[in-house]
Symmetry: C2
Subunit: 211 residues, 2 copies
DNA sequence: ACCCCGGATAGCCGATCGGATGATGCCAGG
DNA sequence: CCTGGCATCATCCGATCGGCTATCCGGGGT
């Protein structure tokens, strides 16, 4: 007899993915899916009711708060579950945000089922589980200077990608043109480029901007 | 008794998604999942063996040929299946490429299961099934002049994204700076922008450039 | 044969960008 | 407490960009 079934809640806005994970997880006799949620609000409600051991969390939840924010909410509950992020993307920004929010693990959706099961069990025991590709990425980022752009700079990048000029950005952000240029200079330095076009390209590549 | 079960093959590089679709589809008594494939080569092999009525195709298949190319291969088989694209993204470039490759339908993964079943049945009958959001997008694109950039212009865009100046592009492409500027002007017109940064952003968004 | 389009080229000019430099206030972490 | 990052603003100046107009040539379609 299994001493203690691990109770799992799924949070994902894709019905197909929920069905898939449920099918796979429920087939394991030590794992139980006790709830599902399609968005942040549902997630909090369901977790509050079911107090699961592990929550499988998608990072992109369509409208409303994302997976990272939701993770934070869940970890602030009276009986916080372990949160295992299960997503498609492995940007270092995503990973860091999720881990910072209190996630205990980070898996990619293309992981083989076995790995998923091991991750769930490990997470339930309080271990930190990282997908190999994620771990690799983290290490190589740790080695390199780690260029983190500030929120304001991201804002500038967003407008930049819309093709706005400095004057227009200044008006949009209610600051002076000089400030905009200052931000831009910093962005260039951090991204290792020296033109606006290059900045947009690398920002998108680095997933600082979503295409 | 059901006169004819619809035979379905899944092509997706995510085990989780395959499991999900299989669980959902197999629960329908008029639908049968008769095979799965994780990449292009497997897809061709499995479809060749099983000659299904409908193939559910993911567009991003990790390494190797993508979903669009694979769709083309399947449609060139002796007994071609109907191909229903089931993916996360709805860029018009993706849709057009898939449809051009011979896809009979285009659904997003966040579609509710019911919609998926209807789509499979419709596709099997030879209907064309488009997700609402996809259909909307197509219509609004159909209304606008359909901006197709020339190969040379794509080249310019590539260098643009690398942050090169006009002079540098000219040297790189062995043409005069005037020519580069001319190309750029055309690009701006076609993409509906008026700055280099905006051009890069829309080019990536339109999948003219790969991020 | 004719015309349109893509590609290449030229020159002009005002607007803008990018780099350098310097300064201020705020707030968090050591 | 003090350093440092973030955000703000200011000026100057040379280089570059973007828009405009005009010409030329070759290939594909009518």
């Amino acid at each position: 007899m299994v001493e203690q079934r691990i109770r799992v809640v799924l949070v994902d806005d894709h019905p197909v993915v929920r069905a898939g994970v449920r099918a796979l997880v429920d087939a394991q006799d030590d794992l139980d899916v006790v709830g599902e949620a399609a968005d942040s609000a549902q997630a909090v409600a369901v977790v509050g009711e079911t107090t699961p051991d592990v929550v499988l969390m998608d990072l992109s939840l369509g409208e409303g708060p994302g997976g990272a924010e939701t993770t934070r909410l869940l970890r602030d509950l009276p009986e916080p579950p372990q949160v295992l992020v299960l997503t498609t993307y492995d940007t270092e920004a995503d990973v860091l945000e999720a881990v910072d929010a209190g996630a205990a693990g980070y898996l990619l959706k293309d992981a083989p089922p076995d790995e998923l099961f091991r991750a769930i069990r490990g997470t339930a025991r309080g271990e930190t589980v990282l997908a190999p590709s994620v771990a690799t990425r983290l290490l190589q980022r740790a080695a390199s200077p780690a260029p983190k752009v500030s929120p304001r700079e991201v804002e500038i990048l967003r407008l930049l990608a819309k093709g706005l000029g400095n004057k227009e950005m200044a008006r949009e952000l209610l600051v002076s043109e000089a400030t905009v240029k200052s931000h831009l200079s910093h962005i260039y330095t951090k991204l290792g480029v020296d033109t606006r076009a290059g900045a947009v390209a690398t920002a998108i590549e680095r997933r600082i901007l979503r295409p």
